[in-house]
Amino acid sequence: MHDPGNRVSPEPLAEARGLAARYGGGALAIDGVTFAAQAGRRMALLGPNGGGKTTLFRVLLGELPPAAGELRVAARAATVPQTERSRLDYPVTALDVALMGTIAGLPWWRRPGRAERRLALDALAAVGLREQSGRSFGELSGGQRQRVLVARALVQDAGLLLLDEPFSGVDRPSADLLTGLIDRLAAEGRCVIVATHDVEQARSWDLVLCLNHRQVAFGPPEPTLTREVLEATYGGAIVDLPAGAGPGRAVLPAHHHAH
């Protein structure tokens, strides 16, 4: 389990103040984003579909310039995209995908050599897929594909990991593996930001940021995730869970699908 005592992290790896961003000349896609995430922290990014989660990731990756506010990213950021976005009929193995993480670190005329292959194989071993390194990416299960993309981010030597809804379409045992992996990545001193619809899981992490174009709330989950905050985040589309959970815990977004 993640041990809060191990965190040595006064300096945030990612810090934003009043951050806003837009595409082209359009309206602001996100606005008023203010947070600080230190090494060792797991931060849930909650919000409806189209609420700006992916936009915030693109700003953190440096792909989209801030339209207003301040942003400081003190580590290399890497994204773990949804696997539906990559082509499953593409002729690559798990190792080929992990090796894509070496592109930025090599001069443009150099191809990955033995050292890079070892790095990629080590990263696959770290996500428990060393044995599957030679298998086609498209043949792997959804959870395994997600872990291959985590391995690719590890090859990039990223301190800030951005996971875009990693649990969607992943079965229960794979989701548990992924949850354990997220805990370990954070415990090793990385900052892990996970865009998710799973409010219950968010409660077990260190920080939550609720985003519905504007930032609704940010902070540790326990005081932050109130019914009012979730209603503002999901536009009132929340349902009460039946008995069992304590007060203030009995809310989930209506479009949430159980895993």
């Binding site: 995209p81 990559s86 593409y90 002729p91 894509m100 592109i103 090599l106 990955p112 043949e139």
Partner: protein, 286 residues
């Protein structure tokens, strides 16, 4: 011994075309075209650029014809034709109510029609018509040397770009965060396709050049599960089809370019039939 006689006859039939300098050059040209077309074709197939490659080939046609008429190198004419076509596509795309696809179709058809008009006009010298269907038997040593230089340049560029092409084709959205700029990679690939068309157009002709860029790679796609083996298979198939096409042309007195294209398409159909009849291992595992 009758078997010896049979072997000698077959050997004689296979060796006969190689006695001829013209055919020797033709064999060298199809080997170059096959290597470049097979390897580059893999990216064309994986990027879904088949329509784009065909458009590119037709759009640079009037440039080729103009160069042949003016007596300047066809590389210069082809490049000029491409620039004119690109500007025309951009301009047509700006006209309201004309979509991108329509703009390309209109420009490409216009350019190609213009080229055909020039090439087939009675005033044009007879060799110009060869640009349409190719003249693999009419190559000079200079043509061959130019093909060699361009072919090597394309293969070297593809090797340098390999990792970036792989990453962008896999997932365009996250490629930038990996350090591969999709727009740059796309542009580089299109430039290489244009160069490959210039290499192949003299041998295969403008109408058939697309066959070598697509058919061997599409065939290899059915057989290989990784990109590099796919490229090796595509290049081998393309060279084999080129050589087989030349034999066909030699003994059946058919047009060289058309024979090669026919063998390539036949190969694809055979591979498609073969993989369709085989139990679908991959889809069963997914």
């Amino acid at each position: 011994m009758p078997t010896d006689a049979v072997i000698a006859t077959i050997w004689g039939a296979l060796a006969a075309p190689w006695q001829d300098g013209t055919l020797l050059r033709a064999f060298a040209e199809v080997a170059l075209i096959g290597a470049v077309g097979g390897v580059l074709g893999c990216w064309i197939v994986l990027y879904g650029l088949s329509y784009g490659a065909e458009s590119l080939a037709h759009a640079l046609f009037p440039g080729l014809v103009a160069a042949a008429l003016l007596g300047i190198p066809i590389v210069i004419g082809g490049t000029a034709g491409l620039i004119v076509a690109a500007l025309a596509v951009a301009a047509a795309g700006r006209v309201p109510k004309i979509g991108g696809d329509t703009a390309i179709a209109v420009v490409v058809t216009t350019m190609f029609g213009l080229g055909v008009l020039l090439a087939l006009s009675p005033a044009s010298p007879p060799g110009v018509g060869g640009l349409l269907f190719g003249d693999v038997l009419g190559l000079s040593d200079g043509d061959l040397l130019l093909s060699l230089v361009l072919a090597v340049a394309v293969l070297v560029a593809l090797r340098l770009l390999h990792g970036r092409l792989l990453a962008v084709g896999f997932d365009r959205g996250s490629a930038r965060s990996l350090g591969a700029a999709p727009a740059l990679v796309d542009a580089a690939l299109l430039v290489l396709v244009a160069v490959a068309i210039l290499v192949a157009v003299q041998g295969l002709g403008n109408l058939l050049v697309v066959a070598v860029l697509i058919a061997p790679a599409a065939t290899a796609r059915l057989l290989a599960r990784r990109v590099v083996p796919m490229m090796a298979a595509a290049a081998a198939l393309a060279v084999a089809a080129g050589v087989a096409g030349l034999y066909l042309s030699y003994y059946a007195s058919t047009a060289g370019g058309a024979s090669i294209a026919a063998v390539m398409v036949a190969m694809y159909l055979a591979a498609l039939a073969g993989t369709s009849l085989r139990p679908r291992i991959i889809s069963a595992r997914a």
